[in-house]
Amino acid sequence: MRMHKIRTIAKRDYIATVRTKAFVFGLVVAPMLFGGGSIAMTLFKGQPDLKDRRVAIVDHTGVVAGALVSAAREKNGRELFDKKTHQQIAPRYVFEVIAPAANSKDQLLALSGRVRRKQLVAFLEIGKDALRPPGPADDPTARVSYYTNAGGIDEMRNWLNGPINDGVRLARLAQLGIDIDRNKGLTASVPIDGLSLVERDEKTGEVHEARKRSELEGFFVPFAVAMILAMIVMVGSAPMLQNVTQDKSQRIVETLLGAATPFELMTGKVVGAVGVSVTSSVLYVLAGTLAVNALGIAGLLPLTIIPWFYVYLLADVVMLCAFAAALGACCSTPQDAQNLAIVLLMPCLIPMFMLVTVLRQPHGTLATVMSLVPPFTPILMLLRQAMPDGVPAWQPWVGLVDVLAFAAATVWAASRIFRVAILMQGKPPRLAEMVRWAMKG
């Protein structure tokens, strides 16, 4: 293997890529796409939907509805208007108490019609047994029914849970003869403070108090770190498929093969792509550092994972670029490459689909096993490492050995496929043929 050839090919590919408008555009647009949701949330936060949320209540107990109406009035008074600007910033919750009808079915049907006609967002039916404390054989879900056709996250339903249960509890206490007006705080909730662990300073021996833990620390930071890795890997490796196919379809490859071996050619291209990824990662890491500093959450970033971030980044880009080069060599036209692009992105997309599952149960069997499967290790292991309680010390090292071994095997197999396929024209080979080339060369 002659290093000057690899260097020359890598340099040309690197310059050709970073000078394209597509690279600069991708550098700016990719984070916008990934962070699009949060940007949109920030933009539209000040413009909530202010239409009244009207809910009908059919209360068979006769006492819970009143508590709900009071709770809604209190909420409206507290949250409806901005204290400084006096502008409305939240929708008004309006409850319409309806007496139970003799024919329950007809009443429910009529109310459903009103929801369909958008006169109501929902209606509640509070069963007459709601006040009776549930016995072991009772079905507690049958006590209160909430009817709606609303999609997405139903804020009304989430809010109702508190006032309904408060109302029911107060009514039960009243039944027991307790004076509710004199014991108003009886059902008040106790807030739970999320705190980090207590630490002892190794130098001074001083014990530091636990600090308040932000939701960001447990969710946002690991999520963002994993997404940034996935984004850089995709931005760095996705152009490789088109790049090789283009060299092949424009008949450039044979000239290059007259001066370099297929392995040197492929390695040069992979090194060029790694350079592109490192360039974009440095820009993203710099921008990210500036952003977290500006937001005042710099302390939440676990700096110890930065070396892991770069090791995983390099291994993942090498692995995917070698894979892309082999796939590109098998394509004769840009159309063929387009059809295979999704296959190439699978090692990034599958772990991205699993991010929420892994965040929920970072030490579950699924999260542990999947983060040790080499194509998924970089994103999933890094996600788990970025969480406040981290992972057992052996796991990142085992993951790293897996990833490096798999990356080496991918490069080896890809170079064999690349060598056979790069000068072939016509229909792309079948998977079985590619496997045969990888095994036999």
Partner: protein
């Protein structure tokens, strides 16, 4: 020392044998012409010399003991299907290819070659703005920078206008004078006859001709008559001892039967037409090519099979 030594090389693709038990020696400093119909194995042979394909059997040695995989820096290869990075400037592209092969800067050589092939004014233009002929000249320069010891040119003249073709021909001869060995494939038999020291013809993967043009023609003897007579093609019909007639328009080429006497042919021709010219000669390379790979040869092959 021989530049290339091919010994009993075979290369197959699936069930097709592209090159079959080929042995060939290319002397250093010579111009070797590869001829043969499309698909006969010329490009496969070249790709094996350049180490793009590996032989299934046999061995290729370059400059004595060198194996192709260790000698690619000594080779300049111009493939038949040519392509260049369209978005690069001519200068950057040529420097890239030169650096790729030699590992050093080649600015001076690039400037010299651009000057020589009349492209100095286009050095900073993008390749995509060049005409086809200019692109081919750029590709030729990319092949010869830095000066290789062995140059493989797969149909270097195809698609070139006469002026560009002459510039390339002159450059090839100049490189040979500097000791560069040149292997070129061509379908232009006249060019092969006039430019090449040796001719190698491959047909269906097997070597069918190899040697100097003189030695190849000697093998066939003086069995060809070139004639100009009143009446043209009609005048040479029905002549005794003539196996085949090739009508070139103003001139007819007659191939004599094995035991035929040219004097008899001349007498018969004079008896029926006014003869302007009559020359007895060895067959041209084109004629030899057609005898081996033309439709008549195909028919004979089928009949024998």
């Amino acid at each position: 020392m021989d530049a290339v030594q091919i010994s009993h090389v075979t290369r197959t693709f699936g069930s097709v044998t592209a090159v079959d038990d080929l042995s060939l020696t290319v002397p250093q400093g010579s111009i070797y012409g590869f001829i043969g119909p499309n698909g006969s194995g010329k490009t496969t042979t070249m790709r094996m010399i350049v180490n793009i394909f590996y032989p299934d059997r046999g061995e290729i040695r370059l400059f004595g003991d060198g194996r192709p995989e260790n000698s690619t820096d000594l080779i300049g290869y111009l493939p038949e299907e040519r392509g260049l990075y369209q978005r690069m400037t001519v200068q950057a592209l040529l420097e890239f290819y030169g650096e790729l092969r030699s590992g050093r800067g080649v600015k001076t050589e690039v400037a010299r070659w651009l000057q020589r092939l009349d492209l100095a004014g286009r050095a900073s233009d993008k390749v995509e703005t060049l005409s086809r002929g200019m692109s081919q000249k750029v590709q030729f320069i990319a092949t010869v920078i830095p000066e290789p010891k062995l140059l493989l040119l797969d149909e270097p003249f195809s698609g070139l206008d006469p002026v560009s073709a002459e510039a390339i021909r002159s450059a090839i001869l100049d490189l040979r004078r500097h000791g560069v060995t040149v292997i070129l494939s061509t379908h232009d038999m006249h060019l092969a006859e006039t430019l090449c020291d040796y001719i190698f013809m491959i047909f269906r993967g097997r070597k069918v001709l190899d040697g100097t043009i003189g030695s190849i023609q000697d093998r066939y003897g003086e069995d060809t008559i070139r004639v100009t007579a009143s009446g043209g093609f009609a005048a040479v019909q029905q002549l005794p001892g003539v196996d085949q007639i090739r009508d070139l328009g103003q001139v007819q080429e007659l191939r004599l039967a094995r035991s035929a006497d040219p004097q008899e042919v001349l007498r018969a021709l004079v008896a029926q037409a006014r003869v302007t010219s009559f020359s007895l000669m060895k067959p041209s390379l084109h004629d030899i090519f057609m005898r081996i790979a033309g439709p008549a040869a195909e028919e004979a092959n089928h009949a024998n099979a």
